[in-house]
Each structure stands twice: as structure tokens, then as C-alpha cells.
């Protein structure tokens, strides 16, 4: 494609405008620790374009949202390699199912984050099943993955960061959100683990999210 043709294409393509805006925003953000959440209406425009199978919109969406998607999956799964694979699966699912997004289910960010969490949990469950099967079929074959030690260290390093991001919460709220969002536990499992009634866990999750709306109160 000639430069002129490319220009003309971008000129008539609303997606490119959004992408350009995002790129420009990104350029102004150098040096910031955490990516600035992208404007919801930008994401709605992008996701709608992705639903029409617009590839430019898809790459712009990837650039805007991939750090929070990857970070969320990584916190759930721990293994970087697996987190990369699941991130790829999630984006492929976004590409295929963008048309299913319904504003009544939440913002595009919420829709994609919930999808990312569910796929990460699916992956952990599959790995567990696989491990059990390998143990069952031929224990002698199975070498403990060397990455396990590495993952334990990463988990330890992560802990302080996680606690910092949850500092705004009460201990009771932090406990349930940590087990749910940074693990593979359903709220029912969290209730069982902590010996709490289901209603209490649900309320703590809700109240915790309410507090997190205000940000983290962390001095940077």
C-alpha cells in the first residue's frame, strides 16, 4: 500500500482516529508507573469496530487493554509462560465474541477482565487435572516442573505489591479479595476456606470493590 493510500484509508476509518488518540495519550504517559485507564467511550468504539472484524481496531484495543489483562491473568496463574498463552486465548476470544458484548453486562473493560479471570481459572483447573492424570498414568515419567520454584519466588515478590494495592481495604475485605481475585477460588470456596457464611463473603467482596473505587491511597 502506498503512503497516500494508507493515509486515505486512515482518513475514512474512525478506528484509526481512536487508535491515534490512544497512541498520543500513551506518548504523554511515559514515566507513569501504571497505565492510565483508557476512556470507556474509546473502548466502546473499539470493541464495536472489533465486532465488525476491524483488525486495526483490534490492535488498538490490544495496545490499550493488554497490560491489565496480562497482569490480571499473571496474578491468577503465576506462571509467566502460561499467562502469556491464556492472554493469547483471551484476545482470540475477544476477536471472535466482540459481537456478544452487551453494555448491560458491564463496561468493555469489565467484560474483558471477567473473561480473562475465567479463562485463567479454567487454565489452572486444566493443569491440575493434567497433573493428576500424569501422576496416575506413569509417576516415573513426571518430573516436577522446574518452574515451580521460580513461581514460588515470584509469588513471594508479588505479595508486597498486592498488599500495597489492597491497602485501602479492611483486613476482612482484603482476605476475600486476595483469595478470589489473586487465586483460582470461587466465592463459595473462599467461604469454605475461611469458615464464613456465603452472605458475608459476598458482602465483603462488594464492599471491598466499593472502597477500591476511590483508588489506593498509595503515595507514589
Amino acid at each position: 500500500m502506498t503512503a497516500l493510500a494508507l493515509q486515505q484509508r486512515r482518513l475514512v476509518n474512525p478506528t484509526w482516529r481512536v487508535r491515534f488518540t490512544l497512541l498520543a495519550k500513551e506518548a504523554t504517559l511515559t514515566g507513569s508507573i501504571h497505565p492510565q485507564p483508557t476512556n470507556t467511550s474509546d473502548l466502546v468504539t473499539l470493541l464495536n469496530a472489533v465486532a465488525r472484524q476491524d483488525r486495526d481496531a483490534f490492535s488498538a484495543l490490544y495496545d490499550a487493554i493488554s497490560p491489565v489483562i496480562f497482569g490480571t491473568i499473571l496474578k491468577t496463574i503465576r506462571s509467566r509462560e502460561h499467562a502469556e498463552e491464556v492472554t493469547q486465548e483471551v484476545f482470540l476470544e475477544i476477536w471472535r465474541k466482540a459481537d456478544d458484548w452487551d453494555p448491560r453486562l458491564g463496561s468493555p473493560t469489565t467484560w474483558m477482565l471477567v473473561m480473562a479471570r475465567r479463562r485463567a481459572v479454567d487454565r489452572i483447573r486444566r493443569e491440575e487435572a493434567l497433573q493428576q492424570r500424569e501422576d496416575r498414568i506413569a509417576p516415573s515419567w513426571t518430573d516436577r516442573p522446574t518452574s515451580e520454584v521460580e513461581e514460588a519466588i515470584t509469588a513471594q515478590e508479588d505479595r508486597s505489591e498486592v498488599q500495597e494495592s489492597l491497602a485501602v481495604l479492611s483486613d476482612a475485605q482484603r482476605e476475600v479479595i486476595e483469595l478470589a481475585f489473586f487465586g483460582d477460588h470461587t466465592y463459595v470456596e473462599v467461604a469454605e476456606m475461611l469458615g464464613l457464611p456465603l452472605g458475608t463473603v459476598k458482602t465483603r467482596m462488594r464492599d471491598g470493590l466499593m472502597r477500591l473505587r476511590r483508588g489506593f491511597g498509595v503515595v507514589t
Partner: protein, 227 residues
């Protein structure tokens, strides 16, 4: 019995099980009270996620973008007029079906017999940590109890090392039994019908073995699934 209205928190944190998630989504599209609560709470989720954001490696971007390029765009092409090659594909496909369909009447392909069996079920093969290459884009096994047979299918599978081959195994109470060796084609594709009788509850596993295959596995299971 659960009150659906309480599930907004667990929904946003992605900590509902599959059944509840589906049920809650259905509820959410009908319940304005819950929609309002999602709108109220989702900035908390966004903050939580941005505080834990991690930039993915740059090569992941390439992988993701090329994975959608390989996608078949047919599913969403209803409003696009057929142009160029597209115009010829459909009639060409029809002719192929007609020609091969005629052969099929006389001689059913043993692989198709399994894949098209009314009782056939397909499961994804899990990739183990022992598999160090780029994971295949497709790895699955289709099992038909009626045919007592299973078909392995891979796409995007890397070649085994050197002159090695992949070997499939059917594993029951008596341990692994060889079920055939294979190497993928230049596109990483392979489709084989397993040797031996496949039964429910057996495990299918794939290892890498020296040329010609071995009577018992020496490699670690790279892919596996339960029939």
C-alpha cells in the same frame, strides 16, 4: 437458594463457577438494579486491575495479531460481496464435494468414519510442561465408542527433534500400548486414526520417540486427554 442480586461482587471478581456465571449473566441483562450496581462497582475492579497491570512481552503482540490473521473470516462476511478468488471458491468447493462425495459412497475413509460417527465426542488435548516448543494451535482427539476408535488432530505442531517422531499411546489399567507414530506436515498439521481399540476411560498420550517408534514410552507425555 442463592439470591442473584448478591452476586455482583463475585461476578466482577470472576469468582463465580461456570454455571452461576451463565445464570448471573442472564439475570443481569434483565435486572436494572444489578446493572446499576455493576456500574457503581466496576471502577473498583478497573482500579484493582490497573494497579496490578504488567506490560506483556512485545512478541506476544505479534502472536496475538497473527492468530487473528489466520482466523477464517467467513463467519462474519455475510455483508461482503464475493470478489476475486472468493467468487470461485464456492463453486470449486461444490465440485470437490460432488467428486469426493461420490467416492465416499463406495469407500468410507476410516478417519471420517470416526469423525462423522453419531456418537463421536471431541476433547482438547492438554499440553504438559514437558512440551517446550510453541504450543500447537489445535490439539484434539475425537472418540467414537461405536467405532471403538479415536482420531488425533493437530494444527501448528512443531516438528519433533531431528529424526524423532511423535508416538501416540492408549493407556489403560495395563499401562501404555503403542497407538501409532506420526510427524506433522509442513504446516504442522496431522490427523491420524489411532491403532488399537479405544474405550471410554482410556487415556491418550503423545510422546516424542526415536524414528520408527518404540514399544514402550521413553519420552515424557507431551499431550494427553481422557476418552
Amino acid at each position: 437458594m442463592n439470591d442473584m442480586h448478591d452476586l455482583v461482587g463475585p461476578y466482577l471478581l470472576g469468582s463465580l463457577d461456570e454455571t452461576e456465571h451463565v445464570a448471573f449473566e442472564a439475570h443481569l441483562t434483565e435486572c436494572q438494579q444489578c446493572q446499576a450496581e455493576v456500574t457503581e462497582l466496576e471502577p473498583g475492579l478497573a482500579n484493582l486491575a490497573s494497579a496490578n497491570a504488567v506490560a506483556p512481552p512485545t512478541n506476544l503482540r505479534d502472536r496475538v495479531l497473527s492468530s487473528i490473521t489466520e482466523e477464517d473470516p467467513v463467519a462474519s462476511s455475510e455483508d461482503r460481496p464475493a470478489t476475486g478468488w472468493g467468487r470461485w471458491l464456492l463453486p470449486a468447493a461444490a465440485i470437490l464435494v460432488a467428486v469426493f462425495g461420490a467416492f465416499a459412497i463406495f469407500d468410507t475413509d476410516p478417519i471420517d468414519a470416526v469423525l462423522n460417527a453419531p456418537d463421536a465426542t471431541t476433547v482438547a488435548l492438554a499440553t504438559s510442561d514437558a512440551f517446550t516448543g510453541t504450543p500447537p494451535t489445535e490439539a484434539r482427539v475425537t472418540f467414537s465408542p461405536g467405532e471403538q476408535s479415536a482420531v488425533l488432530e493437530f494444527d501448528g505442531l512443531v516438528d519433533p527433534t531431528g529424526t524423532n517422531v511423535y508416538e501416540a499411546w492408549l493407556i489403560g489399567a495395563d499401562g501404555p500400548v503403542p497407538a501409532g507414530t506420526f510427524t506433522p506436515d509442513s504446516n504442522g498439521r496431522i490427523r491420524i486414526r489411532l491403532d488399537g481399540d479405544a474405550e471410554p476411560g482410556l487415556i491418550v498420550a503423545v510422546t516424542e520417540e526415536p524414528e520408527g517408534g518404540l514399544p514402550a514410552p521413553t519420552g515424557a507425555p507431551l499431550f494427553s486427554a481422557e476418552l
